[in-house]
Structure formats: C-alpha cells, structure tokens
C-alpha cells in the first residue's frame, strides 16, 4: 500500500523535516565513509598487523575479565535506593499540593521497597563474604 503524502487536509509533520534530513545525512555520512574507505584503502595484512595493540606491550591474559558477582549486587542495590531518592525529591517539593493521595502512594512505594530490603537483607546481600 502506498502512503500518499500531501493530500489536502492531511497532517504533514513538516516541523520534523530538519530532523529527518539530519538523520539522512548522518546515515549517509556514516555509511559513505565506510564504503569510500573500503574502496580506496590498501589492504595488506600480515600477522603482526593483526595482533591486538596494547600500548606496545605484549597482551596479558584474556581481554574479557571476570568480576565477582558481589560487585553487581552492590551496584544493583545502589541503583534501587538511588531511584527511590530520585522519586522522593519531586514528591517532597509538590507534597502540599497533592495531599493524601500522594502520601499514600509514596508510602506504598516505600513499603514495596522495604519488602525488597528485607528480602535482600535476609539473603545476606549486604555482607561481603
């Protein structure tokens, strides 16, 4: 099916036209660079050239390192409580305007987080060992 643009009475998002043009230029530039380079660049590979570059030193071990899962747990807990605080600020600012409803809602929110907190505590998420 063809979408015919510019029919009378139709909404045309002309305000967004620059964005569209921008997107097109960005895409064309990105792809164009790659295409042009791949056409013109010389391609002479040998073993030395293919080794990973680490500031002139020979690479040590795998590039992918494993961290203890505990770091992730701490990070997640941090995010959870961080987000809580983010929500609390605007709530506190307009608290006097929205009254009981907002109060109940925030208490529910904190309560649910509290359940999560208890859960995390009981699961020993806060102890390092």
């Amino acid at each position: 099916m063809r979408i015919i643009t510019g029919m009378p009475g139709q909404y045309i998002p002309s305000d967004y036209l620059p964005i569209l043009i921008f997107m097109m230029i960005a895409t064309a530039f990105g792809l164009g660079t790659l295409v042009v380079c791949s056409i013109f660049r010389p391609r002479r590979t040998y073993a030395e050239k293919l080794t990973p570059y680490e500031s002139g030193n020979p690479p040590i071990g795998e590039p992918r390192m494993r961290f203890s899962v505990k770091f992730y747990i701490i990070a997640m807990l941090f995010v959870v409580f961080d987000v809580e605080v983010v929500f609390l600020y605007p709530w506190a600012v307009v608290f006097d305007k929205i009254g009981l409803f907002a109060y109940v809602e925030m208490m529910l929110f904190i309560f649910i987080l509290l359940v999560g907190y208890i859960y995390a505590w009981k699961k020993d998420a806060f102890t390092w060992d």
Partner: protein, 477 residues
C-alpha cells in the same frame, strides 16, 4: 487536591501484588517450598475469584477492568495455576527449588494482568516490562545450567530490543497525537484525518514488531526456539501461553481501538506476517528432534493462527482469538506436563525418540499426550479443532477466505510432526526404560488440561458465547 481514584477495578492487581510480595517474604521463613507452591495456587485462585467480580474504569481511564481484560486475566491465572502445579516436583529435580520462583511467576502474571487492562500506553508498557523482567529471570532459573543462562540472556537482550522499539512507537504516537490514552489516540486520529500519515504508519509498524516479538510471530520469533529449549520446562509452558496471550490482549486493544481507523493498513501488514509465521513454525517444526524445540516452533505456528482473529478485526474474530488462546493454554501446558513427567533424575526426556513405545509401559500418559497432540493438530473431537474453527470462521466472514485456505494447508502440514509423536508412542518399541516422575500436583494439572481440552471439545458453544459476551461487556470502556 488530587481526587482519590476508585480502587475497586484494580483490586485483583492489588491483591496479586500483595500476594507476590507475601510469597517473597514467606520464602525467607518457610523451608518447605511445596507450601509456597500451594500458597501461590491459593493466591491465584483468590485473585481469579476477585477478577470475576470486578469491573469498571479507574485512574482516569488508564486502567479498565472490562469483559475483554477479564477473559484474558482468566487465561493468565489458569496458565499460572497449571504452570505452578507442574513445577512443584520439577524444580526439585532440577535442583533449583527456591521460593523466588513462585514469587516471580506471580509478578509476571501481574504484569500480564496490567497489560490486558491497560487503557493507556504507558500503563501497557509498565505491564509489559513487569511481565518480561520476571520472565527473563525465570528463563534463567536453572542457574547452574549453561543452556538456561543462555536462554535468559538471549531473551533479555532481544526483549530489551523489542521494548525499545515499542517505546519508539509510543513516543512517535505521543508526538503525533499529544496523548498516550488509547481512546484519545483513536479520537485524535479520526478527528484530524491522520490516517495516511507516514509517521503514524511508522508507529504502527513499530507496534507490530514489538507485539510480534511478544507473541513470537516470524520474523520476530528468533528468540523463541532457543529460549523455549533452554528455559526450565515448566517456565517454557508458562511462557508459551501467558506472555503470548498478554501480547495478543495488548495487540487487540491497541490495534482495534487506537488504530481502528487504520484497519486496512495494519491488516495488510499482519496478513503476510501471519502467513510467514505459520510457514516458519510448521515447516521448521518438522525437522526438530528436541520436543521442547518442536513445541517452540509449534507455538510460533499457533501464534499465526491466532493472529487471523486479529486480522479479521471483528468482534467475532477477537472472540475467536480469545477462545483460541484459552484452548491453547490447556493443550500446550498439558503437553508440557507430559514432557515434565519424562524428566527424571539424570534423564532429560526431551528427545522425541524418548517417546518411543511410551504407550507400552505408561498407557495413561501416552493417551493424554495423544489427546494433546490431536488437539494441537486440530482434530475434531478435541478443543484444538474448535479453536481453529472459530478463528477460521471469523476470518472467512471478514472476507479472508484465501488466508483461511493457506492456514488450513499449514495445519495439514502440522499433522506430520504432531502425529509423529503419537506414532512413536504407539507404534514403536521402547528403546529404553522410561521412568515417569509423577506427583499429585502434576496429576491434577494433567487432569485439568485434559478435561479442558475434551470438555471444550464437546461443549464449545459456551466458551465462544463467553468470549463474545466478554467483548460486548464494555469492550473499549
């Protein structure tokens, strides 16, 4: 001062939240996880009861407890109960008998319930994410198994991708219409003659992709085989029914209300999608050797059949789609229950060849599997036939006879791989001793699904009437 919104319509969800949190906390004190399973089933039953008595709109139209959502919530809760019942013994065998399992299932179901009731795209998104995040974790629940981990990561990454596309769709729509309210969007589109707008079409396409991912429609189905195979079998059963149905619930509401004036356009997108989905699902399923993978492709194919109800775009089509999903819940979870029975200590029971000669030693289980396979094929005395029949009828009445012809061809092809299981069970000699793992809960789940398949097969009129009433009861409140 902000008015306090009525909480009546949202009561089942509130209850569900409370129960899910309760189970999470109780897990810390209860050592016997079977107790948690029992409590979860009880919770689901209570919520089901609450769902039946709830109706109305709240949060200024953002949340609608209408007949449509009620029907879907019953599907979700049913699949939740059945999945919990088949899990009890299974997760012990997999050595992942943790309480979070049940809590996550409840949360996931909560997400689906919110999706079904969403009257606003933001609420819809909230529901999708709640459902999906819980399911990601569940897919990787067997954390000592590489396959399960892989399933979870794949599902998560691709799910995030799909969510992002959904958000693009929503934001485009918001940009065009200035609202995220589903009915508001519809009103704006028809009032301002937006129907041919390319940006709007782009938004429709993004919705198609996002929902296509949730219901596992080709070509957005790529995750399904890997995830279904890797996830714990009980979760595969759960995932293949609940989230799929939830995806259809959201799809029905968004496409038939918000995009009602674009029906011709989105139908033109969905028709090839449905055909490709049926083709991919049915043809690739033939060459599978792992039964979970085979049922994954089968699940893709069934999404194709159910899509035809949406394509029809009539109340009849929606009713057919809803009945189809309910029937699918029974037959698919039933089939997975049998697969779980074959899983025992040190034996996966996931190969199709493991079913050879099953009828010799375990005639009852083989007979049940036969019923489910017949139903999935769509052979008359079972519910599967009824489901297909209603959907096809609706499509024919909506003028898509040729699409029905295609669908019938594909469902004929599907007989090949479903009947192969039956043939293995009844016409081959057992290659090895297969011990079944049974438990009262599993037996109950099997009884419910088999009864569901047969009773709907024999008295199907009620079901369709119910689905129709559900739609007329305040569809699009």
């Amino acid at each position: 001062m902000v008015e306090f919104p009525p909480l009546g319509p949202v009561m089942p969800e509130i209850l569900m939240t409370g129960f899910a949190l309760l189970i999470l906390v109780l897990d810390l004190v209860i050592k016997r996880k079977e107790t948690l399973a029992f409590l979860s089933v009880a919770a689901a039953a209570v919520v089901m009861y609450a769902v039946l008595g709830t109706s109305g709109v709240t949060f200024s139209g953002m949340f609608a407890a209408d007949g449509y959502s009620m029907f879907f919530k019953l599907i979700f809760l049913l699949s939740l109960i059945l999945s919990i019942l088949i899990s009890v013994k299974y997760i012990a065998i997999e050595r992942v008998n943790y309480g979070e399992y049940y809590s996550l299932m409840l949360f996931s179901t909560l997400g689906m319930m919110i999706m079904a009731s969403a009257g606003d795209l933001i609420v819809l998104y909230l529901g999708i994410e709640l459902m999906a995040l819980s399911t990601y974790v569940l897919a990787g629940f067997i954390r000592h198994a590489v396959k399960s981990n892989e399933a979870a990561v794949k599902y998560f990454l691709l799910g995030a991708f799909a969510s992002a596309l959904l958000l693009y769709g929503i934001s485009l729509l918001y940009g065009l219409t200035g609202t995220t309210d589903i009915k508001g969007v519809a009103a704006y589109i028809s009032d301002n003659g937006l129907a041919g707008n390319p940006a709007l079409m782009l938004s429709v396409i993004l919705f198609v992709v996002a929902f296509g991912f949730k219901i596992a429609a080709a070509p957005f189905h790529m995750w399904a085989p890997d995830v279904y195979e890797g996830a714990p079998t009980s979760i595969t059963a759960f995932m293949s029914v609940g989230p799929k149905a939830a995806g259809f619930a959201a799809m029905g509401r968004v496409f038939l209300i918000a995009f009602a004036s674009l029906q011709v356009q989105w139908a033109a997108i969905l028709i090839p999608l449905a055909i490709v989905t049926m083709a991919v699902g049915n043809i690739i399923a033939i060459s599978q050797t792992n039964i979970k993978r085979m049922l994954a492709y089968s699940s893709i194919a069934h999404a194709g059949y159910a899509l035809m109800g949406v394509i029809a775009g009539t109340p009849e089509g929606l009713a057919g789609m809803m009945s189809y999903l309910l029937i699918y819940a029974f037959m698919n979870i039933g089939a997975f229950a049998i697969i779980i029975m074959l899983r025992s200590e040190g034996f996966s029971g996931e190969n199709i060849s493991d079913y050879e000669g099953l009828s010799k030693k375990h005639p009852v289980s083989a007979a049940l599997m036969l019923i489910f396979m017949f139903s999935l094929t769509g052979i008359p005395p079972t519910a599967g036939f009824i489901g297909k029949f209603y959907v096809f009828m609706a499509a024919v009445n909506a003028g898509y006879t040729w699409l029905v012809v295609v669908a019938v061809i594909f469902s004929a092809i599907s007989a090949f791989f479903y009947m192969r299981i039956v043939m293995y069970m009844y016409m081959k000699e057992p290659r090895r001793e297969v011990e079944l793992t049974t438990s009262p809960a599993l037996g109950l789940a099997l009884a419910i699904s088999a009864l569901g398949v047969l009773v709907i097969g024999v008295f199907p009129g009620r079901l369709l009437d119910l689905a129709r009433i559900a739609i007329t009861l305040g569809w699009g409140l």
